[in-house]
């Protein structure tokens, strides 16, 4: 197994994902794919939003407000997947001590937090005409508010610790333990309130609940959000790596 450290020509025969744990390899590879990835993300998002806003019919019950779904569903999806990505990156950091992994988790947190905010805000805008209130204490809505507090706690812990490796250690363990309690509160709120929120619109194992006229543009929007998330996280990870390199160089210069 390639350990990922200093993987140069010797590792080229059997390339694995761990090669990119080397910051130099990560920077060069992501530098090459970022322009294309950014264009794809922007293009997909533009097509998806235009299609869903202007080319889909109004719903027979909800009218034009149904179009909020095209932002709400992808944002909610990425809010949860962003946390799962941070969880995976935290585990990789704890097990294999790859700095890129820790920095990717750090970079993903504000993006995931923003996705949570988008999901909550679009949900509130939709809730006013559909349910008659911007906010109701529904299990799903409450779970998202809880997710937001977990994101805030995670970001706050990163900000509070000066030593970057210690911060990576402590935030990783917080992410893992926090995931357990976030999941527990997701199911605990079901005891607490009956929901107004509809069931899942999309499912991998069941027949979809929505018509193809909405389904296809929704998938395009989801693809746009996934790509945007990836691009933003890569950009922020690259920034973090550069900041670390800058700190090292400044320290070296001050010593000289």
């Amino acid at each position: 197994m390639n350990l990922g450290h200093g993987s140069g020509a010797g590792a080229a025969s059997r390339s694995t994902i761990w090669d990119y744990a080397n910051p130099a390899r990560f920077m060069s590879a992501t530098g090459r794919i970022l322009p294309a990835a950014s264009a794809t993300a922007g293009g997909t998002l533009a097509v998806g939003v235009f299609w869903s806003f202007f080319l889909t019919p109004d719903d027979y019950q909800h009218g034009a407000t149904v179009k909020i779904m095209f932002l709400h569903v992808p944002a909610a999806l990425m809010a949860i997947n962003g946390w799962l990505m941070m969880l995976a990156a935290s585990l990789v950091w704890l097990v294999r001590r790859h700095h890129v992994s820790a920095l990717a988790a750090k970079a993903a947190a504000p993006v995931g937090l923003t996705m949570t905010l988008i999901a909550l805000a679009t949900g509130a805008i939709w809730g006013k005409p559909a349910w008659g209130a911007y906010w109701v204490w529904d299990p799903r809505l409450t779970s998202f508010l809880v997710l937001l507090t977990f994101y805030i706690a995670y970001v706050a812990l990163w900000e509070a610790i000066d030593n970057p490796d210690l911060a990576a250690d402590l935030t990783s363990i917080l992410c893992i333990v926090g995931s357990v309690f976030a999941l527990l509160s997701r199911y605990a709120v079901l005891f607490w309130s009956q929901g107004l929120h509809q069931g899942a619109s999309l499912s991998l194992d069941r027949e979809s609940h929505i018509d193809n006229a909405y389904y296809v543009p929704l998938l395009v929007c989801i693809a746009g959000f996934v790509m945007s998330f990836l691009v933003l996280v890569l950009l922020r990870t690259r920034n973090e790596i550069r900041l670390r390199q800058l700190a090292v160089r400044t320290a070296r210069r001050d010593l000289a």
């Binding site: 809880v146 507090t149 706050a156 509070a160 402590l170 363990i173 333990v177 309690f181 976030a182 607490w192």
Partner: protein, 218 residues
Amino acid sequence: MFALYLRDVRLALRSGSGTANALAFFLLLVLLVSLGVGPGREGLAAVAPGMIWVGTLLSCLFSLDRMFVPDHDDGVLEVLVTGPAPVEGIAAAKALAHWTTIGLPLTAASPFFAYLFSLPAGAYPWLVLSIAMGTPALSFIGMFSAALTFPLRRGSLLLSLLVLPMYLPTLILGVQTVKLAAVGASMLPVLLFLGGVTLIAVAATPFAAAFALRANLG
């Protein structure tokens, strides 16, 4: 480890900081809520389960930032962590001492506070049982968060930011148990879930906290 537990309990009782402060805070909260909600028995009874549980959460929270800080300041914590006892055991002993000095007195005092809030009589045993079953989770989760933040200068504010989201499952299930008991409905499944959350917290957090303690002490 048992010696550490006894030492922590003794320190908390003699300094009078932990137990007395938590109970005094709870009494003040009861006073504040009653003045805020109004003296009507129905209004108070309606908010009683939630307020008693929120009070329990906050009383536990305020004593957490002193769990590791004094031992860290005088170097005892470093001696403990580098010593022969497993760090997981030290973490568990700290949490147990916190529960003995905060959770247990709050459990014992809860019927008194419930009476001030005019809780329906049938709910008393379930209130006491739910607080007895829920407070260990509060102590262990709090101990883990305190292990993350004790060396930080502005640690106590951050601590509440970390702790409260993780307290939510216990709060929801605890309040729901008492609410169902107050109207005479079956609360046993909820109470068992509350116990489950506590067992998860007790089983998992000493290991996570030991990791955080070792990382923090470098």
